[in-house]
């Protein structure tokens, strides 16, 4: 027996030494490549729910009695009465709140905000908008999801507002003193195949960043055409939208096709005389018409018949991490062209008649977006063949020609450090065959930059920055300095200084007089 022990001892010592070496080699650098098939991880992932994770029992393959649903030593249960969660009434679910999992879904919700937004024009220190708004939006589930976490099968969304703007309504007739209106109202039908959306809706089919050549569905909101220094403000339209997911394969991670029909086309409403957003050209036409030197007709909007229906389609996919989309559109120009004709006057003389019209046109294009390590790049290219382009002067008839127009944007954004956000975009418009016609209002090539830079301060309660659009071909610029402060979860205080400048004939320069300061207070509920 002594002999047996003597033989065992060196082996045991060797084992102990190996053990000691292993115990000291606890730091293990990760392999250079990931180990999706790591045997340890794989084995652990396959643990049936009845097996315990304690010790090495799993590896012995012994089925254990199901462990208890709670464990000893829980920091929030070891000191009864001292659980900080128990003292937080705010953590309790709200009555009627939507639940995840198997809990019953919230069937109706009502939210909104009240806001005072006041805008003072710097030039004459006149208030050009004192908008007081009550905004309500509601969601109703008409047929709940059949599976936990799933989309509700049939749901209704409605939003609307009650606005009062004594300053804007005092300047022009296109903003009423009191305005109670529906904004978006649409029904979503979620099926296993096609999803359908029917109703009044905002729908962005472009990249939605700064300049958007293919965002052609929704017209501008004439009351506030500039939502920010680099974004416009749109109005919803009545539409039907179908979204059909397509099968994927290989590195095609997602694919879908969307079809849109806008049965009754909507276009930009021309601003009334006196509005701060009445363009310089329109103002001159009105003045000339008032002097009797020409006839300026009312805006001739497309008739509200199905014959004038607009259509769009979007084939979208995500391939190797790239969002790619092909887009087609047929509809009406949102901004009018001023058609010219001659009209015989009572004196037998031909008089120039100008009619703002919205001819139809088509557009095709594609866009892309890709997230890089810390940046995102986006781009969009569109071709609008036979797009109506205005001619300068008053002699040519009908005052516009059709030309092919290429529009492209390419943008990049990135967050530096913790929260410093920078967004830059270059845009360019090129007119096909521009040299064949003299006197086009557009240059053969127009281009510019849009930009935004912002950062967060004061524990992220304050967001401050600058954003704008700057033409490099004589259209002028916008530049907005802004700050938004979250006083509480529900109260937002915001202030901004908007500057517009450039040549009087420029897209932005024509609003040179509208440099303004805006103060906004919003309470959300």
């Amino acid at each position: 027996m002594r002999s047996l022990a003597g033989r065992c001892l060196p082996i045991l010592l060797l084992l102990w030494l190996l053990n000691a070496v292993a115990a000291h080699a606890q730091t293990q650098a990760p392999p250079s490549k990931p180990l999706p098939g790591d045997p340890l991880a794989s084995e652990l992932r396959n643990i049936p729910s009845g097996y315990s994770l304690q010790g090495n029992n799993f590896f012995a393959g012994k089925k254990q009695a199901p462990p208890p649903a709670q464990v000893q030593g829980d920091p929030f249960t070891t000191a009864p009465g001292k659980d900080p969660f128990a003292a937080q009434s705010l953590l309790a679910p709200k009555p009627g709140e939507k639940k995840a999992g198997n809990a019953p879904a919230e069937l109706f919700s009502l939210h909104g905000y009240v806001e005072s937004r006041d805008r003072l024009r710097i030039k004459d220190q006149e208030a050009i908008s004192l908008r007081q708004r009550l905004w309500l939006e509601s969601e109703a589930v008409l047929y709940p999801a059949e599976e936990p976490g799933g989309n509700h099968r049939l749901r209704l969304f409605a939003s609307g507002a009650l606005d009062s703007d004594p300053a804007a309504s005092g300047l022009s007739d296109d903003v009423p003193l009191w305005d109670f209106y529906a904004e978006e109202v649409f029904l979503t039908i979620d099926t296993d195949g096609v999803d359908l959306i029917l109703g009044r809706k905002l729908l962005r089919i472009g990249t939605g960043d700064g300049i958007n050549p293919l965002d052609l569905i929704n017209p501008l909101d004439h009351r506030d055409p500039l939502a920010t220094g680099r974004a416009d403000s749109r109005l919803p339209v009545l539409l039907g939208l179908g979204i059909l997911p397509l099968p994927t394969f290989g590195n095609l991670q997602e694919a879908s096709i969307e079809a849109v029909m806008i049965p009754f086309p909507q276009v930009n409403q021309l601003n009334a005389p006196g509005s701060p957003w009445e363009g310089r050209g329109l103002k001159l036409l009105r003045q000339t018409a008032a002097q009797g030197r020409l006839i300026l007709d009312d805006q001739e909007k497309p008739s509200q018949s199905l014959q004038n229906a607009e259509f769009a389609a979007r084939l979208a996919g995500t391939l190797y991490g790239w969002d790619l989309a092909l887009i087609g559109y047929y509809g009406h120009l949102k901004s009018p062209v001023f058609s010219r004709s001659l009209s015989a006057s009572a004196q037998g003389e031909d008089k120039l008649r100008i009619t703002p019209i919205h001819p139809s046109f088509a557009a095709v294009g594609f866009n892309f977006a890709k997230g890089l390590e810390r940046s995102t790049i986006r781009g969009e290219l569109s071709l609008k063949p036979d797009l109506p382009v205005m001619l300068q002067g008053m002699t040519s008839l009908p005052g516009y020609v059709r030309r092919s127009v290429w529009e492209g944007v390419v943008g990049w954004d990135r967050t530096f450090g913790t929260n410093l956000y920078v967004n830059l975009q270059y845009f360019c418009t090129a007119l096909g065959d521009a040299g064949e016609v003299d006197g086009l209002v557009m240059d053969s090539i127009e281009h510019g930059l849009s930009y935004e830079i912002n950062d967060l301060f004061w524990d992220d309660a304050l967001k401050s920055g600058m954003r704008g659009i700057s033409s490099l071909s004589g259209e002028g610029f916008t530049c907005e300095l802004y700050a938004e402060y979250d006083l509480t979860d529900n109260i937002l205080l915001a202030a901004s200084l908007m500057l517009l400048g450039g040549p009087e004939s420029g897209q932005y320069g024509q609003f040179d007089d509208n440099d303004s300061i805006t103060i906004r207070v919003r309470y959300s509920f």
Partner: protein, 260 residues
Amino acid sequence: MRKSASILMLAILLLAGNAQAADTGREIMLKVDAVDNSRDAVMSSVMVIERGDAKLIRRMEHMTKNYGDALKDERTLIRFVEPADVRGTAYLTWSYDDPEREDDMWMFLPAESLVRRISGGGKKGAFMRSDLANEDIEDRAIDDDIHTLKGSAEQHGADCYVIESVPRPELKRDTNYSKRVQYIRKDIYLPCRVEYYDKRGKLLKIGTHGGFKRIDGIWTITKSIIETPRRKTRTLYQRSEITYNQGLDDGLFLQSNLKR
């Protein structure tokens, strides 16, 4: 005979010790990662962010589904319910276990009816003004850090491994932390305390996790407190209505699903 038996007993003890020691920091973290072996999960969560007398509330709904042969890739959809001004805002993330592959992320802004591709550049920023950083709520691959077992310690009466997790050198610029010290419970392989150290090596914040519940056979943290002593702020984070393996439809995790 008694001496021989003693030697054999010693050998068994040594071998048993050897089996324990074989768990390196990385292996323990693999076990932590493997605790949630669900294919999908649905849950609600509430954050109460305490800043002096002020309290900010965040309510969210989460859905997650794992993909790939080893269920290592993950798609997550988060929809905000509260505060009111961000209600309906949603984030969709496709994250990949392969550290060489960029995550795909999109944000849905309901007021603008806009789905926008975003990047992971803001990882170091605070998540909705809480004590959590965006990087804290993301699915972090095991091999994004080098894990070292520093020993054992007791936390709230539970025996824990103490693991020091240091970001891989090439990932250091993407994180707020020089290291995290994690206390991993030995019984259920879940962290009950995480200490976050800033780039200068000073303690930045402390996460305490608890409310351990075994839901659908999976041990789950349902309550966390993240404290930032320097700022004297803390965030209480509670998860509820948790269900696993409900067979969530793949269509929920597509861009085309990001709509009202």
